[in-house]
């Protein structure tokens, strides 16, 4: 072991043939980390692994060339190591002596000899590209601006990319389809993207990746345009121009890519359901070294709800576009079909949580809507939750945005969860806020995101979707928005502050009125109690003008309860008086109603009679209870709606008056 010899560039260099020199210099530039000539150990490691030599051999080589001694790979060490690699591949023992002879060039997986010629030309490009692109794609150490760091990340990321066919998910095209099957994406894309992401090089890599593994291992020709990515050495092979051999749509995101993007998303924002702020995303994507103009365009394409933040889906879209752009694909003018959020969200896993629902409710209430936002009705996604995945993301925006500013409300609303389902909770919390916000929502099936409509609306309008979902079973009171949006409505804290100020005008439509928040909660919970009592009383007194809403419940038979009389009487006044007294009554009722609770409600004929099959008594009870709850909620909301309508009219009147005054004053300015 003559380390000195290894460390002395002169000794070994003289043995390098022209070909070797060319090749090695290409590889060297590839691995070069910084100006001092030290190579990134990660990159070098990758390179070594690409040679497909056993690990101990690699260690031996590393020791021999002196890197271990020095702690890093310098020029000399690197060249010696390369020669040792060649020797090992040729079957010679790993000794310094063996490299003194003429040796074939070291072979790295998926690298053809012709690759070298490209190295020459594009070594420069590859180096730069490698640095850049690796950055955003690498996982955690976002903050690392050090190139070497990036490379290390790359290499670590690359490690995910199995160099050997068996390991590489993209490795074998046949293997990849199954892996990426979930996304119905071609394997090549899978491999391509995954590789591309980690590729230090530019586009050529992706193409290379496309064909990837199996053919790659046999050595692929570098992409004509992006050869240099000489890093090809480390890449499972490059591809010919015919990257789309697998007839894959480059605009589709494979499962693997999606996982990668998700991983990156997590590094920026641990909560997958949360949003990435614009500034954070900007810093992140700037690392990809794409021109700002292109990044701006990508942002415009991917931020579909125009809220200045990215959900997971939007992030994936943006990331995918960046990857594609890096690989040479021109940016589309509009999102390709396969990149539409609605399409993507179908694949994504539902991430809805009860919390989100609560947030939705709150955001709904807190956000104002423009009058034109009434057009957002089609945008409101209701009912179905699965397709509502997209909704989730959409509403997540508002949800989180509003959450950010309304954290207090959130905390308050959270405990409001009652015994009933979260949906019920949402309803109750919604009741606190002016239901007007949801007014424009209708229980339509989740409409597709219409870009036109979207352009007209502000993100806030989506938030109403959550409440709608909560109120699946109830009819939506078609209340108009609480007040016209005076300014460009953006779901930002600024607007919310303004909202708070405006709410001081005395409109109940103010979003977060803490006092009203609490009562409705028990109200909703008590409603069923009340209803149960009412139903029972309805048996005795069918005619209850105040129970118009409960007429449907008359069919229900309840056990006669002594408190029935009480409930009936209380129910009467409860229905008519204004909101707050009603709530109070409800509360007082709760005690009575609670006493009713113990009474096991027998199977209600209501549900039993209608359906031909016999539902279990328990099921019937539950259904009836739910129906009752929903109807109660509906009634309450209708009341709220009418009141808010009234207020709205008054405000409109005021506005008209002010405008007329303004008109009078205006001519004065025309001097």
């Amino acid at each position: 072991m003559d380390r000195a010899a290894g460390a002395a560039p002169g000794g070994t260099f003289m043995c390098m043939s022209e070909k070797e020199q060319r090749r090695y210099s290409g590889l060297y530039t590839l691995c070069q980390a910084d100006s001092s000539g030290k190579l990134a150990p990660g990159k070098v490691g990758e390179l070594f692994r690409a040679s497909q030599l056993p690990a101990d051999t690699l260690h031996q080589i590393a020791e021999l060339c002196g890197a271990k001694q020095l702690g890093y790979f310098g020029t000399g060490q690197f060249y010696v190591a390369l020669k040792l690699l060649a020797a090992a591949q040729a079957g010679l023992p790993v000794r310094l002596e063996s490299i003194k002879n003429e040796l074939p060039l070291p072979r790295f997986s998926d690298m053809k000899e012709e690759a070298e010629s490209h190295f020459h030309n594009h070594s420069q490009n590859s180096e730069t590209q490698s640095h850049h692109f690796g950055l955003p794609l690498d996982s955690t150490p976002r903050a690392m601006t050090d190139r070497r760091g990036f490379r290390r990340q790359e290499s670590s990321a690359e490690k995910k990319e199995p160099w050997s066919p068996p390991r590489s998910p993209c490795g074998s095209p046949p293997a990849s389809p199954p892996s990426s099957h979930g996304c119905s994406l071609g394997t090549q894309r899978n491999g391509a993207e995954a590789h591309a992401a980690q590729m230090p090089g530019g586009s050529g890599w992706v193409h290379a990746q496309l064909e990837t593994s199996s053919p790659s291992h046999s050595g692929n020709k570098p992409h004509p345009e992006h050869t240099s990515v000489g890093a090809p050495v480390e890449r499972p092979g490059e591809q010919d121009a015919g990257m789309v051999d697998y007839a894959d749509d480059p605009w589709r995101i494979t499962e693997e890519q999606r996982e990668y993007y998700t991983h990156q998303f997590k590094s920026l924002q641990p909560n997958l359901g949360a949003l990435i702020l614009g500034s954070v995303a900007k810093n992140f994507f700037t690392k990809s070294k794409l021109p700002i103009l292109e990044l701006s365009h990508i942002w415009e394409l991917s931020d579909v709800d125009r809220d200045g933040a990215l959900t997971l889906t939007e992030f994936c879209i943006a990331f995918h576009l960046i990857v594609a752009r890096k690989n040479g694909y021109p940016l589309p003018e509009t999102l390709p079909l396969t990149l539409l959020p609605r399409f993507l969200e179908k694949d994504a896993a539902p991430s809805r949580t009860a919390n989100e629902d609560v947030f939705f409710a709150m955001s709904l209430a807190q956000q104002k809507k423009d009058p034109p936002l009434t057009e957002t009705e089609p945008l409101i996604f209701f009912g179905e939750t699965e397709p509502g995945l997209r909704l989730q993301n959409e509403t997540d925006h508002q949800m989180h945005l509003s959450v950010m500013t309304l954290s207090k409300q959130d905390l308050r609303e959270e405990p409001s969860k009652s015994v009933f389902s979260p949906k019920r909770i949402q309803v109750t919390t919604v009741q606190d806020k002016p239901p007007v916000h949801r007014s424009t929502e209708k229980p339509d099936p989740p409409p597709e995101l219409d870009p036109h409509v979207r352009s007209r609306t502000r993100p806030r309008s989506y938030s109403s979707a959550s409440i709608e979902e909560a109120m699946k079973k109830t009819e939506e009171p078609p209340t108009p928005p609480p007040r016209p949006q005076k300014t460009h409505s953006r779901a930002s804290s600024l607007d919310l502050n303004k909202l708070f100020q405006q709410s001081g005008q005395g409109l109940k439509s103010g979003h977060l009125l803490p006092p009203p928040a609490l009562p409705p909660r028990p109200m909703a919970t008590q409603i069923p109690h009340f209803i149960s009592g009412t139903d029972k009383s309805s048996q005795k007194a069918v005619q209850q003008p105040n129970f118009a809403d409960f007429s449907k419940f008359q069919e229900e038979e309840e056990n006669a309860i002594q408190a029935e009389e009480q409930n009936r009487e209380d129910a009467g006044p409860l229905r008519t008086p204004p909101q707050k007294p009603v709530r109070r009554k409800y509360r007082t009722e709760s005690q009575v109603l609670d006493s009713l609770q113990p009474f096991p409600s027998p199977s209600h004929p209501l549900t039993g009679s209608k359906p031909p099959q016999k539902l279990s008594s328990r099921q019937k009870k539950e259904i009836q209870t739910a129906i009752r709850k929903n109807k109660e909620t509906n009634a309450v909301l209708t009341r709220l709606n009418s009141e808010l309508q009234q207020q709205l009219k008054e405000v409109h009147q005021e506005r008209v008056n002010l405008e007329s005054q303004l008109e009078v004053l205006r001519p004065v300015a025309f001097l």
């Binding site: 614009g278 500034s279 995303a281 900007k282 994507f285 700037t286 700002i292 103009l293 990044l295 701006s296 365009h297 942002w299 415009e300 931020d303 125009r306 809220d307 200045g308 003018e333 034109p372 352009s455 007209r456 016209p484 949006q485 005076k486 300014t487 460009h488 953006r490 506005r655 405008e659 303004l662 004065v668 300015a669």
Partner: protein, 147 residues
């Protein structure tokens, strides 16, 4: 300053406060473009006057729309100012009588919306010329409409 010179001279200008430099300029008939630039500049004075004249604290949609700034020669100038003092100016040929006030208002609203979208883009530095393709396409479609 965002200027958009439209079809039958149709000009939209928006600018920052104090600096009053154009952020965006667009016109459909490229002839006499300089004339529109000049018109827009002169109209800025009128805009300032209007903005300062309206002393109301409450800023609502209507106040953002300044209306017809002044009809001169053969074209009319409409103004609109956002909350961030970015001004939009539209110059329309007087011969184009089909454009009503409501239409102008809707045009300003659309512009404002698109402008907000551009602003929301984290890669856009306020004060830079607007190079958003989406914005361009929106403006084009708007100008085509008025033709």
């Amino acid at each position: 300053m965002m200027t958009m010179l439209g079809g039958e001279p149709f000009l939209l200008v928006s600018k920052q406060e104090q600096q009053n430099y154009p952020l965006y300029i667009r016109s459909v008939p490229s002839d006499s473009e300089l004339k529109f630039h000049y018109t827009v500049h002169t109209s800025l004075d009128v805009v300032e006057e209007k903005v300062s004249a309206v002393g109301k604290v409450i800023v609502d949609q209507r106040e953002l729309y300044l209306g017809l700034l002044y009809p001169t020669e053969d074209y009319k100038v409409y103004g609109y100012v956002t909350n961030s003092k970015v001004k939009f100016v539209i110059v329309v040929d007087s011969s184009n009588t089909s454009l009503r006030d409501n239409e102008i208002r809707s045009m300003f609203r659309k512009l404002h919306n698109s402008f907000t979208d551009v602003m929301c883009n984290p890669f856009y530095n306020p004060g830079d010329p607007i190079q958003s393709k989406v914005f361009d396409s929106m403006v084009s479609s708007m100008m085509v409409q008025t033709c």
